[in-house]
Each structure stands twice: as C-alpha cells, then as structure tokens.
C-alpha cells in the first residue's frame, strides 16, 4: 500500500521535472536538420560521389589506364579502353559500382592523370540495383560549384610534378 502511494507521489511531482529538460531545448538551436529541404554542408575533404574531370579544352582527363581499378580495394571500378578520333586512349566504358564502393578515395589517390575525384554528394538511393552502376556519362558532368575545387588540386599536383597540362 505504502509502495503504491510512493509511486503515485513520484509520478505527480517528478514528471514535470523531466518535462523541464524538454522545455529547456525548445529555446535552444536544434541539432537536427530539415532534411531533405535543407542539407548539411560537408567537410571539405568529405568523400562522396565520384567526378571525372576534363581538360580546359573539354577532352576527358581519364585515359582509362586502369590504375584506379587496380587500387580499388572493393573492386568497384570496371573499364574498357578505346581509341578516340585522334588515336588517343580514352575510356569506352567506365563504371563504378556504388554498392561496392567504400568511398576510401584510393582511386583518386592512384590516378596519374588527376582525372577522378570524390565529390561531396552522398545521396544514393534508387529503385533497383542496376542504377547504382554509375556510368562514365554520369561522372563526366561539370562540378556543381562554379569554382570547381578540383581544378585547384589539379594545379597544385601538377606544380609538384613540375609539369604543365598540355591541353
């Protein structure tokens, strides 16, 4: 009997105390985000969806050398080279399987042409598995930001190597 009374007393007097904590947060800045209407800015070195870069004159930087695929620990990259109109080497097929990719960035690291970069996008959802095979055309799009940050990286790397981009 005594126990029951005790419990009732606790409920009546202590519960509001709990609500007080809730009340306190009403006046604080929320930690959640109004996703997907609002998006969180990512850290500058965040590794998301891949981009393939182009030279200033528009030719693809990627020569389909296969080093990214060789470096990839998840075996996510598949490519087939071909010869373009100028007899140069380029990718006929270049695919990354985003379901396999672990976003380690090794491909970016391995690339001798500074052709592949991991961007900031992180939204991957689809209705079927095949759509996760990310094709060359999907990766060869211009960077959403005007001041393409990858260009700066390319310039820096080329300076270290002491070579200039020929195109």
């Amino acid at each position: 009997m005594k126990d029951i009374l005790k419990a009732i007393g606790r409920a009546v007097f202590k519960t509001p105390l709990g609500f007080l904590v809730t009340l306190k947060y009403i006046f604080k800045k929320p930690v959640t985000l109004d996703y997907p209407r609002k998006k969180k800015p990512m850290a500058p070195r965040y590794r998301g969806k891949h981009y393939l870069e182009r030279y200033d004159d528009g030719t693809e930087r990627c020569v389909c050398c296969g080093l990214c695929a060789a470096a990839c620990p998840a075996d996510a990259i598949y490519m087939e080279p071909e010869e373009n109109e100028n007899g140069e080497r380029r990718a006929k097929i270049y695919e990354i399987n985003l379901l396999r990719c672990i976003f380690c960035g090794f491909c970016e690291e391995a690339c001798p042409e500074e052709a592949i970069f991991l961007g900031q996008e992180y939204e991957f959802s689809n209705y079927d598995r095949n759509s996760f095979i990310y094709t060359k055309d999907e990766m060869l799009v211009p960077h959403p930001r005007k001041d393409n940050p990858f260009k700066r990286i390319i310039r820096r790397v080329r300076r270290v190597y002491g070579v200039e981009d020929t195109k």
Binding site: V63, C65, P81, E83, N86, G87, E88, R89
Partner: protein, 852 residues
Amino acid sequence: MADKQNPETGGQATVTLTIDGLTVTVPRGYTVLEAARSIGINIPTFCWHPKLKPVGACRICYVEIEKFPKLQVSCATVAMDGMVVHTNTDQVKNGRRAVLEFILLNHPLDCPTCDKGGECDLQNLTFAHGLDDSRFAFQKYRFVDDDMTTTFDDKRIGPEIILNRNRCILCYKCVRANKEAFGEYDLGAYERGNITEINAAPGRQVANPFSGNLVEICPVGALTNTDWRYKIRVWLTKTTPSICNFSSSGTNILFYKEDHKNKIYRVTSRRNDDIDDGWLADITRYSYQVITSDERLIKPLIKKEGKQVPATWEEALEVIKKRLNEIKDKKGGVCIGGLASPSLDNASLYSFAKFLRRTFNSNKLDYRQDYRMLPKDTANNYSILASQPFKIAGIDDSDVIVTFATDLLREHQNEYLRVRKAFNFKKARIFVANPYAVKTADVAELEMVYKVGTDEIFINAVCLAALEENLVACPDRADLKKKIKPSSLKDAAEQCGVAPETIKIMARALAEGKKVTFIAGELLTRCRDREIIASALCNLNRLFGLNRKGQIAVLARYANSMGAVKLGISPEPVPALKKELEKIWSGLPDTEAYNTDTMLVHMKKEEINGFIIMGANPVMLYPDREFVKESLEKLDFLVVCDLYETETTALADVVLPLAGWAEYAGDYINLEGCRQHAEQALKPRFEAYPGYEILEMIADKFEKKLFSSTEERESEIDRLLKVDTTLPWPDGFVEVKTAEIEIEKDYPLALFLCDDPHHCGHLTEKANSLVNFCGEAYIEMAEEQARAYNLNEGDSVRLESPIGKIIVPLKISEHLDNQVVLVPRNFTSHPVTSLLMRKRRIDWVRISKVAE
C-alpha cells in the same frame, strides 16, 4: 676441374669464375651475364636477348669485375677463368641508377596510356633501381612527324605495328632481331645522338611474317600492335599455355585471356629451345582471332527443302542417325566415309577413325585434303621418307643444310628461322633447290632453280655428280647408274637446267658435310609424282649416307599431320600400327580402303553415299574444285563440322559447329613426333563442341559408345603412340621412273599454289590482323615476266587454265625469276583450285591483262 680439351679453342672447354662469392663453372664462350643467370643471380638487362648476338647498347647490366678499372657490361663480357665479379656493390648500384636516369631523360613517362604498362622492363627496373626524381631540367626531346597518326606521337609503321619513338630506349633489339633472326630489312635505326630513331625503312612498311616478335621483344612500349592496342591491362588477364594450330612445328604459345568475358586478347611466345627459340610467326600470333571472331557458326544447321536452317543439337543428331542408318541399311556401312582435318587434336582424330571403322566397318577415311593422287598405304618410298625421324633443333648444329622442293617461308616458318640461325651462328653451308626462287636463298651458298617438273632429275644429277667425281664410298654405288635416267651428269644437268659445276659443288658439300640436314617440303608432297621424286631421294640418301650423318625428311605440313599418321587416320595405316589397332579393338574391318582421292571418285559414281567431314574444307583446298563439288553434290548425306560456314558446309545436309583449338584441351604431335599438350583457354563459344565430343554424341545415337571413359580413350591413344611408325629404308638403290609431263599448248606458265606467308589453310582469312597484312589473293610473278606482258604492280590479271579462269591483282615478286606464277590459296574470294586438274603434275596457265 675436368681437363677436357676443346680442339677449337685449344684450351679448356670450361671456365671457372666467382660471382658474388659463388664459384661457377660454365662452358667457354659464356658471357658473365649468362654465367650469373646460370646460378640464379639476376642482372637486369634491356638490350640483351638470349637468341641474338650481344651489343652492349643499354648498359643497364653493369657489373664490377675486379682488376677492371671501370664497370663492365656483363652481357657483352666473356667470362674468363679466375674472374671475380660483383653484381651488387654500391658502385654497380650507382651505375645502374645513372643509366636509368640517362635513359629516362627523354622518356615521356606516359605509362598511363602505354600498352606496355604493367609488363614494361623500364617501369620495373626504375622501380627496382632508379631514382624517384630526375635532375634533367630541360625540355624533353619529342619526335614529331607530319604523318603522325595520333597526338600521342604514335606512328603506324606497318599493318599491325605502331611505333612511338619517344618511348624508345634504343636498345636495338627490334632492329637486330629483324636482321639477324628474320633476315628482314624493313626496320632500321636512323640519325644519331639525341635524335636517333627507330623507323620503318624509307617508303616501306614493317610487314614481314615475323613482325609480331618485334612488339614482343621491345622492352618498352615503343613498338605496340593493333591487336593488343587499348584492349585490356595485362594484369587483368590470365595465361594459358597452348600450341599453335597453324604450324606443324607445334610452336609453344601463351594465350592471354579474360575468364569473365571468355575472350582471348593476345598470344605471346613460350620459349622452347627445342622447337621455336621463342620466335613466333605472325600466323601463330594472330590466328587466335579465328576463334574469337563473331562470324563463327552459332548453331547446328539442317538442310530443309534446299535451305540450311538453324536447329538444335538434338534435332541435328537425330537427322544424322536417321539418314546414316538408312544408308547403312540400304547399301551397307562401307558406303560411308570421312575426311578429318590434320589440325584436329589426337582425341578427335582417333575418335573419328574409331567411329568410322567400328560403327560402319568402313576403311574409307583420310586426313589429307589438299594433295592430289595420294598413296593409299605406306608401302612406298614417299611414306618411308615422310616417316623418318627429324629434330628441329638438329638444324642448328648441321654444317650442311639442303632445302629441296620447299618454300620454307611460306610453309615452315619456324624451320626457316632455324636455317637462318644455322647460317648466322654456325656458318652452315646452305643449298636451296626449288623449281622457283625462294627467300631462303638469302642465306644460301648456292641457289639452284631447276626446271619445273624435273625434281627427280635434279636429284639424280646430284647422285651422278657424286659418282662421276668419286665423292662417296657407298659400296654398291655402281648399281645406281642402272636405276636412274639419264645416266650422265651432263645430260641430267641439261634436262633440269642447272649448271653441272653447281651440282658438283652441292654434291661435294653433301659428301663432306659432317652433319647434314636435308629438308623436303610441300612441293614434293603435293606433287602427283611424289613417289618418283621420293625414290630419287632414297637413292640420294643411300649414296651419301645422309640419315646416318644427319637427317633427311619430308616435313609434315599441319599441326597434327604426324598425329594423324601415328593414330592411323589414313585408309591403310602402317603395318605395325594396324597390328596394335587390331589388338585394341579386337579386330579391324577388312573392307576396301580408300583415300581422299578414291573416295571422291567413288562418290561421283554414287558408290559412297554418306560422308562426314570434320574441320576440313576440300572444296577450297583440293586441287580440282569442280571435281570435289560435283562429287560431294552426288552424296545422299553429308555432315560437315567446322568453325565457320565454308564452301564445303554450303553443300552439307547437316552442319555442326566445331569448337576451336583454344576451346578444349588436346594433344598434338609436331613434325618431329613430339607430343605436346594444349590446355583449354576458353569455354566453347556459342553452341560449339570439340570434335571428340561431337563424335561421342553421334556414336551414342548409334548405341555404340566409342569409349567408356576419357581414361580409356587416352590409354588407347597412349598405346598407339608407343608404336614405332618409322619405316625401314629400301635395301639397295631403287628404280627411279621417268615421269610423263603433260605440256599444254598456249599455256606457257607453271602455276604453283602456295600459302601466303601470313596465312595457312582456309581459316586464317577470319583473323583480322592477318587480313591487315594480306587480305586478298594475288598472282606473284617475276618482274621480267610482268614486263613481257606489259603489266604493272596491282593490275588485274586474268589467269586461265584449260578448265577455268580467275581474275587476280598482280604482285611483282622480289625473288622469282622464271616462268612460274604463285597464287595463294587462302582466300574464298579467289577460288584458285578451280584452275587445277586432279591428275596433273604441272598446272599450266596463261595470263592476260584485264582491260580497264
């Protein structure tokens, strides 16, 4: 140390030296590099090649030798007694690093786009020994030409070869191999200093039949080929050891394949010093494309109302069962015959013979599709000659080599290189005798072009020269004169059109030679009168004792011709083999045995009604196309298995897709009788099956299983291969008959059918790379001849024989010089066999210009 005296050097036969603290004894003449490699010490090299003379061009192979003031190039320094060599000191390492830095000065470092990436010696050695950085602060030299095909500075210098001079490290391996090993001069080194370049000879293309090797031996990606260009990275491929299907030497190869795609990407050599020395002919290198082409037969075809329609295997097999059974019931199994290609593996060939002999009691089977008037059995001098043991490596140490009635470059490219090698390295004396001039003559001491149709008279003349000059000690030599005609050298020489003095020189060389190799080839095998020529050769052999002091043989032509002989695919196998077969099968059919030729004759008479062809294309290759066609059309039922739709499959009632040689594992026996295994590289494409499986499936339908298991089949083959099929030489000299040679009025030229140096048989036309070299038939003739007819290179020429005509473009030959024309037989578009007559020794033709 053994004190073995070497008579040539006058000193010891071996030397002993110390390398990195290890003592090693090697034969005198070994270089320091070879000595080091023999005990497993690796010294890096670029310009050294085991089969070429050293030049010391790259200097990466530096070693330190005590008492020598400077570093020495180990590849060009001969090992001496008491040398103390160090391969890993700081000085050596510095030397290597400096060499690499120097080589890399002008190197474009375009590995990402380079096809050699991943298997490049320069890449590997730079990783192992090089610097991370370069101190070269200037602009690199870059080769730029007007006719550069790409912005990567690539330049196409041949139908298949692409050159990038920026990548070249000037090791000169390509130029040396081309010159030393292949005797070709279409590639050279030009200019000097910084701008030294490798390039095609001015105005020429690198298109020799061995050009693929240049790509393989280039240590960097300076020479690449279209075949492998931008297809796949080497580390993604797996290799499968195999055997070439288009050479009778059984050149050892490696397939580079990718399993997921079930595709072969290229072929490289797998050096076997006993057979190929690591050189591949282009046919060998590119013929894999025959298998990977998409024009292959996809499904079985059955003829319904005059049209071939696709069907399932089950339907096809049912039809085969029904129709063959009808023939068997109505006319007997002996009215069924077969022809198998000598390029099939042992298992397929053996199954083929067993199927026909056991199921139908028929002895009507053969493997020869392109020879006229064949012998049926082996009781003849030709078979004796063809069964003689031969060693390819034996050519190397011969001091006298004779090639007779063969154009090695077109028939036996591997042996062609061996003959060149014997000349280059051993100064062998080489004699070339042929009815037309051939390329082998480059290295010959004497080239003898005898008159067309006088092969046996030429050989007789050589014998007579030996007798008249008293060169030989053969005890019964007096008999010979009675057996041959004419009986004096002067007459014989006059008849064959070769100067007697020349013949005497050759006879003397044959008599004096310590080790003689005598090679006869296709011109003998294909000749109607092969028996007469072979008899003359038997006499020659006896007179000079050639088989005792060397080797004499008619070379087999196809990948498994030898296997076909040794497994009894011919109508009448060798007696010893017959006995063994009788034991294995407990009884052999004793029905009439027919060879290809007689089978065709009997088909025409409708005495053979059912026929099975496996992998062969007699319509294209048999000399007398119309005759074959008519014969095959008379058949009630024809089954053809092949990789492609061919002229022969067009006549078939049922066509079955056959798997290519890379699609199953099989054994092949090369011309020296050596059994070699080719592993399976691909899964059979489309619905194709290997020959032995097709035959097993058909046999199943007849409820007469061929073998209860694979092991049984293999053990039967093993038993057969143990039988010695060498036939004994005749006792005494044999009679050489006089051949009757028809002369056609108004047809002044002799036509010789040949294989193009880039083609072999009827399938290579499907390989793109080979077509890039030569994609069309041509008529090759001497410049003088062409001028007489007022013809220029490339003109269309009408080629007529009494029974047919074709129109082909003209090619002026670099070496032909008499009234002979050559036409390759490998092209469907130019059915040259339609000009030939079955029973002729010489095919006489005439030519005229086609008006524009």
